[in-house]
Amino acid sequence: MTSQRTAILFVLPALALYLAFVGLPILQVAAYSLFTWDNGSVTGFAGLANFTRLGGDTVFWTALGHNGIWVVLTLAFPLMIGLLLASILAECSPRTVRILGAIYFLPRTIPLVVAGIIWGWIYNPMFGLANWALDMVGLGALGGAWLAEPSTALYALNVVGAWTFFGFCVLIYLAAIQAIDPSLYEAAQLDGASWLKRFRFVTVPLLKPTTLFLGLYAAIEAMRFFDLVWVTTQGGPGYDTEVLTTHIYKTFFLVGDFGYAATLSVVLLAIVLTVSGVSYRLLRSA
């Protein structure tokens, strides 16, 4: 009994802070969504009117679609590259692992705003490294305004996102691979399994919980990201890189429609909580 009370006492300060700085603002935002606002001032009670606006808001649906594409691309590339590199790295010497691990992880330490600025230069249609490199290898005709063309903008941005995320995947996978019992690999080797077969039938199945964790972490991040888009394209050209967070930012800060921005935030929160809930269940069962 005493120990339970002590435990509660220990938890209380953190819980109080959590409620004050997370719980309360969430409730506040949810309350905002029930009112109409004009330039930051409440003008009346709206009930669920802000939520019914969502159906006809084409920018919202476009943005949601882009978030969805981002989730799929993040799951497809950084995770796969991370898994492959970690599997190769796991068989290298500890010194190589240390050096390459640090190199791979480096982009993760760069704030997304800085990464956006750097890649903005790389993609720049006037002096960008990407077009210059294509020119150098005789593929200049493939060059373009990567962030300014509807067909490439979102994918070009996703490359930046993948660049900042794959190193994290490498390290997490590497730690997980190193925790796998080496006797399983020895047994497979004795049975004549090639590297590819060991990877396919030993590594991949045993990394299922790690893959689930990384996948769901990536999915949640893909719904929340903002800074990278804002510093590079602000959602343009047109609406081609618009995501939920940039739509919320514009509605809140630029239009001053706090009620609808709060509604969009509530929807985003619901999506993230759903993904988190699913991830929790999947991770527990894995």
């Binding site: 330039n39 249609p125 006037m126 373009g144 343009g236 047109g238 800060f253």
Partner: protein
């Protein structure tokens, strides 16, 4: 009995407070965006003028906060919504956004101060842009104009003359392109530069009167003159007047392209005049874009940059103090300080004044040209439209110039958003 010590404490505190003579000084909190460098590099001039005005008005103390111009709109909006509005603020834009604060009673009407201090240098156009439903809510200060900066050396090299008609302008652009240079340095990654270009093109295609029919009357965005403006800017992009990938080029990068001598012209405003004049390693010239449609008078887009506005929530004495201080800032004797040390030209400054003051030749030239047509100068769209419409204008214009939307699709999207904003009562009307 239990409450006695507390009551005593309150009573004694009140007695002490009453015994201290009240200070005669009125403190005015001020937010402005004048930094030490960049577009709004009037920070040192601001400090100098605060010192000068505090000397003239010894009962007023200014508490200055510099808010970067890039985020001042957002910061001010948050301050207003939290009821922490600074007593006096110098923010952008006027017209629609200012009208939003006037509509919700967050900024104070200044009509009485206009009458008291006789701010007659602010003409009807600028007064209108700072008015809402018949009352004035802002004191505009910077006089912004749009024009065409050009590289005189390159023009000379290519045997080009300053165009006097739109057909000549098109011929100049074609010849520049043929010679392997970029005709117009233009970058629209930041989304707002194209709105300035469209504002200029629209004024020279439709004229101020036709603009007002739509902006303040029952006219529609699908008006043929508006369509011609949309077609014109889309054609410029199609004809290769702009650099490749312009929607991915930043405003500053486009200016650098021009200053680096790789483009013959750039169409922008006086807000970068100092940077242009100091950065150009060639002979810098300025001309006004000629009228595009027949029968439309010459003119240019003008605006106020930003304006002084006083919080409605400020005590009356503070409002009076803020107005007296603003009067000091915009007084004719202080205009010269703004021009010579603040690198901005206050509204009401005449071309003759500039000719006599110590400023760059390009500044004198630009204002001499732009101030010739005060009766036909027209509106800047992205400060005139309600913010909800501006947030449609930015992406739709990117699509139009990028070739991803037709002029009709662009105008339909604008009309749709415009109708919604008008129905919501968001429209600014002087």
């Amino acid at each position: 009995m239990k409450h006695l010590p507390a009551a005593r404490l309150v009573a004694s505190t009140m007695l002490i407070a009453a015994a201290i003579p009240a200070s005669a000084e009125t403190v005015v909190t001020q937010w402005d965006q004048f930094a030490s460098s960049g577009i709004t590099a009037a920070g040192p001039a601001m400090d100098e003028l605060i010192a000068a005005c505090e000397k003239v008005l010894p009962d007023i103390k200014i508490l200055r906060t510099v808010v970067p111009s890039i985020g001042i709109r957002e910061s001010y909006r948050l301050a207003v919504s939290a009821d922490k509005t600074p007593d006096l603020a110098y923010t952008w834009p006027a017209a629609s956004v200012l009208a939003g604060y006037a509509r919700t009673g967050k900024v104070a009407p200044l009509d009485a101060y206009y009458a008291k201090y006789k701010w007659d240098g602010i003409n009807d156009f600028y007064r209108g842009r700072n008015s809402y439903k018949g009352n004035i809510y802002g004191v505009p200060m910077e006089q912004d104009l749009m024009g065409v900066y050009y590289n005189r050396d390159l023009f000379k090299k290519l045997g080009l003359e300053v165009p006097k008609t739109y057909a000549e302008f098109q011929a100049v652009a074609a010849k520049v392109k043929e010679a392997g240079y970029v005709p117009i340095a233009f970058g629209n990654r930041d989304r707002w530069p194209a709105t300035n270009t469209l504002s200029l093109v629209l004024g020279l295609t439709a004229g101020r009167e036709a603009e007002e029919k739509v902006l303040f009357g029952d006219g529609s965005w699908t008006d043929p003159a508006f369509k011609k403006a949309a077609e014109t800017i889309a054609d410029w992009a199609k004809e290769g007047y702009f650099p490749r990938g312009f929607n991915g080029i930043g405003y500053d990068e486009a200016n650098a392209l021009f200053l680096g001598g790789r483009a013959a012209m750039t169409i922008t405003g006086t807000w970068v005049l100092q940077d242009m004049a100091r950065g150009a390693k060639f002979d810098l010239g300025v001309f006004m874009l000629p009228p595009i449609s027949e029968g439309v008078p010459a003119g240019t887009m003008w605006g106020e940059g930003s304006q002084w506005q006083i919080a409605a929530s400020a005590p009356e004495a503070t409002k009076d103090a803020a107005a007296a201080y603003v009067d000091c800032l915009i007084s004719p004797e202080h205009r010269q300080v703004w021009v010579e040390k603040g690198f901005l030209v206050p509204i009401g400054t005449k071309a003759e004044d500039l000719a006599a003051w110590n400023t760059l030749p390009a500044v004198k030239e630009f204002y001499a040209e732009g101030l010739k047509t005060p009766d036909t100068n027209f509106y800047d769209l992205h400060t005139t439209l309600p913010e909800s419409v501006t947030q449609v204008l930015y992406p739709e214009l990117q699509r139009l110039v990028g070739g991803d939307a037709t002029p009709d699709q662009f105008l339909d999207a604008m009309q749709q958003s415009w109708s919604k904003a008008v129905a919501n009562g968001e429209r600014w009307q002087p």
